[in-house]
């Protein structure tokens, strides 16, 4: 969104430093700078309108202010987010800024004042994780009344390695990326280390695949390097299919160069000069940001032939997904890149030996690649010092669902669920009761309150019947029905099963039918047993990870929430009030204020009554003047249970039982 990026030809360390200086001038222009988070989330909340309004105001009033775009800042709950930087002062993050507040925001910024009511936190110094330096913005706290980031648990519990630049730089600017230490790791990798030494560093760091499986990245690279064959490929898996997860979108929109740099280091390590990024159909902005990054890197000579004059060549292409979940599986993804139907194959021979077009291929996820430059620059020991026994470094989670602070959070592995949900997430929305947190997408499970002190890493999550997956963390409260959640995932999986193997194709369909029967109140105890038997069979006999893990949502909910299944089966009751066939909406006539809102909003016009003073409060005069209303009543036979009345009633007179 910024003016045209000036192109530098970058061949040496000096060139890199020069580009970095240009980047620093953009990051810290010596005048007021306002950054708007215009990632997908921000745009959905109106950030584009705000960005345009700011630019218009600055132009019309001739203000000495720079307006810039950045991507996801991470705290989606408060979108649109704005970051204001006044020279010599702390940087301040504001939330919930609407387009019509552009003028007062600018006025406050130009006077060096705080824009009242919207400030979230302030930063006194920018941390640069790659170079391990701090860029001090304000010598002493130069902003009154705004808490520092370090005092807000939401931020202080986080450590941003993969998302080091997200929300800080303009992702279209390679100079800003370089200013924060970008591409130095590539230069050092190519000029100071042999490929085997790079692989050793990644192995020593303990980095495990962030896409779900958690396979040791160094071991994968080492096998691929040893495998015979030419050409060889590196692939970035950006087919982030788990519903409820958007870490990879955040990184691709916010810092695409970190992924490209990681891929190039990986390509050098395994002896490849060609790569693909497989981006899912539903992420148009991420694709666009990535395409720009590739183009700019090529123009600068950081991608193409003879990179840094070392003889290393690398090119990368974007492959667009077609909206198939199974393509997140490595062999299916490769089939899709080849232009075929995305069906997985049995992995007797691993893709590191025979992958894309039957050539040795290293595939890693977006977040995994983004970690690689940091491991090279800060060293494997530093990386391995973060995290838990078996899971090193950090993990980005998309903390969503019934939680106060929704957003992307990056935390050291081994942090407890309680800390993520209550300290960072701020607890459950509307102060309801926590019921479960769902991790691992359709392959994962629901973890109940008794495991809130679980230390989150690859192994602990598997132990409680869920998995890390790509990092979706969907918080559910007392209003979420666990049987409905299991049905939701099986509905997802029966459609997304590619159909190649029978257990997955048929098993998921049958499990869905049984869950649907339970949700509709038609099931018996025998159905529950049958459900478990099918789940065990599908788990043991499916071809790929999709099928093998498909029963997890069923098994984990039965394990922890058996009482909810039993309520549906025995009592024909949905305790959470979600399963339509088992709930009923009615209006408490004693509470009804006869406002008529429910009847007006009802899509099927099944609510009758009359507006006026509620009979209980009506005076004699009201009665004489005929101003008394009639409390509203729902016609149960016509009700479609859409819950509109329940949502719109201003006094909570609509009951759900």
């Amino acid at each position: 969104m910024n003016e045209t990026t000036q192109t530098f030809l970058i061949r040496t360390l000096d060139d890199l430093e020069e580009a970095g200086q240009a980047g620093r001038r953009r990051l810290y222009p010596g005048r007021v700078k306002i950054k708007v988070g215009v990632g997908t989330c921000g745009i959905a909340a109106g950030a584009s309108e705000l960005y345009r309004a700011l630019i218009r105001e600055v132009r019309e009033k001739g203000l000495d202010v720079e307006v810039a775009a950045t991507a996801c800042i991470g705290l989606c709950q408060r979108e649109p987010l704005v970051d204001v930087q006044v020279p010599g002062r702390s940087r301040v993050l504001y939330g919930d800024v609407a387009a019509d507040q552009a003028a007062p925001l600018l006025e406050a910024a130009c006077r060096g004042e705080i824009f009242g009511g919207h400030a979230i936190a302030r930063t006194d110094a920018d941390e640069e994780i790659l170079t391990d330096t701090r860029h001090v913005l304000a010598s002493k706290a130069a902003v009154d009344g705004v808490v520092p980031f370090g005092n807000v648990p939401l931020f202080s519990s986080q450590l941003r390695i993969a998302m080091r630049n997200c929300g800080i730089i303009d992702s279209d600017s390679i100079e800003e990326y370089i200013a924060r230490g970008g591409y130095l790791a590539l230069l050092n990798a190519l000029t100071k280390y042999q490929p085997d030494a790079i692989i050793q560093m990644v192995t020593d760091s303990g980095l495990r695949g962030r896409g779900g499986g958690g396979f040791p990245t160094g071991r994968k690279w080492a096998s691929c390097r040893k495998a015979p064959g030419d050409p060889r490929y590196v692939i970035c898996n950006a087919d982030e299919g788990d519903p409820g997860a958007y870490m990879d979108r955040g990184i691709l929109e916010g810092d695409p160069h970190s992924v490209l740099e990681g891929m190039m280091i990986g390509a050098y390590a395994i002896g490849s000069s060609e790569g693909f990024v497989y981006v899912r159909e539903e992420y148009p902005l991420a694709r666009q940001k990535l395409a720009t990054a590739i183009k700019v890197a090529e123009q600068c000579g950081l991608m193409g032939d003879d990179i840094f004059g070392t003889g290393f060549n690398f090119r990368v292409r974007i492959a667009r997904g077609g909206g198939a979940f199974v393509c997140g599986e490595s062999t299916a993804l490769m089939a899709s890149v080849e232009g075929r139907v995305g069906e997985p194959r049995a992995k007797h021979i691993h893709t590191v030996e025979s992958g894309l077009w039957d050539k040795p291929t290293t595939l890693n996820n977006v977040e995994t690649w983004a970690n690689v430059p940091v491991i090279i620059e800060r060293g494997p020991q530093w990386f391995a010092s973060i995290g838990s026994q078996g899971s090193k470094g950090t993990k980005v989670f998309s903390l969503v669902g019934k939680i106060k602070n929704t957003g992307l959070v990056e935390v050291p592995m081994g942090i407890t669920l309680r800390k993520i949900i209550y300290d960072i997430g701020g607890g459950i929305a509307d102060d309801k009761q926590f019921k479960a947190v769902q991790t691992g997408g359709p392959s994962g499970g629901c973890i109940p309150a008794e495991h809130l002190d679980l230390e989150v890493d690859f192994d602990r999550l598997t132990e409680v019947g869920s998995m890390m997956g790509s990092g979706g963390m969907i918080v559910m409260d007392e209003d979420s029905c666990m049987v409905d959640v299991a049905r939701y995932f099986l509905d997802f999986l029966r459609y997304e099963s590619c159909g190649k193997c029978t257990p997955c194709r048929e098993g998921n369909q049958r499990m869905f039918e049984l869950l649907d029967k339970i949700c509709n109140g038609h099931a018996t105890e025998a159905d529950l047993q049958l459900l478990q038997d099918i789940a065990d069979t599908v788990k043991t006999t499916s071809l790929c990870a999709l099928g093998k893990s498909a029963p997890n949502p069923v098994l984990s909910t039965i394990r922890y929430f058996r009482n909810e299944y039993e309520a549906h089966i025995r009592d024909k009751r949905c305790p959470a009030g979600v399963c339509k066939a088992l709930v009923k909406y009615s209006i408490n006539s004693a509470l009804c204020i006869c406002c008529g809102r429910c009847a007006r909003e009802c899509p099927v016009k099944c609510i009758t009554g009359q507006t006026g003073k509620p009979p209980a409060k009506a005076t004699k005069k009201d009665k004489e003047e005929g101003k008394v209303g009639v409390p509203y009543v729902i016609d149960q036979a016509a009700c479609v249970k859409c819950a509109t009345c329940f949502e719109v009633c201003p006094v909570g007179a609509v009951k759900r039982t």
Binding site: A44, E79, G241, G244, A324, L408, G472, C642, A643, T644
Partner: protein, 158 residues
């Protein structure tokens, strides 16, 4: 978008294939571009793709029906995608979809209104989970929705 004439369907396919080169591996890219251009995959386009890329028509159709992003029938002027991701689901996405289906008089698996104004499609997750539940109309996202806001949003579209 109405049904595409056969000539246009073939010409569009040709033009797009010329851009990629008639290679087997560009099959999905070619089909994605045709769909972007014509809003769906007309049969004549697919026949042309099959001939030029030397891929059997059955295989082309297999790919076209495997990936959820492809449509073999014409779509309405406005495409509404309803996110059915987990975060949206627990925050009431099914009720949003119900409201759309009801407001637009869809049902029995129909995705497109008779007047070809709207096509409603549910998608797995558009990655906007922080603002759940979310729908997207022609690229514009609407977050933190409730079912009763649906009629008002539909009125924004002609």
């Amino acid at each position: 978008m109405p049904v595409i004439e056969a000539d246009l369907a073939v010409a569009t396919a040709d033009q797009i294939i010329d851009g990629y080169g008639a290679e087997r591996s560009s099959l999905i890219h070619v089909m994605q571009d045709i769909q972007q251009e014509l809003s769906y995959l007309p049969r004549e386009s697919l026949r042309r793709v099959s001939e030029r890329l030397e891929v059997p028509l059955a295989e082309v159709l297999r790919v076209a029906t495997f990936y959820a992003a492809f449509s073999l029938t014409p779509r309405g002027r406005h495409l509404i995608t309803v996110c059915m991701g987990t975060a949206c689901h627990v925050r009431g996405a099914p009720r949003i979809l119900d409201a759309l289906v009801r407001e637009l008089g869809l049902g029995d698996g129909h995705e497109t209104t008779d007047d070809m104004k709207f096509t409603v499609k549910s998608v797995r997750c558009i990655g906007c989970c922080g603002l759940a539940p979310v729908i997207n109309i022609d690229g514009k996202a609407y977050g933190r929705l409730t079912a009763h806001r649906v009629p008002q949003i539909l009125r924004e579209y002609e």
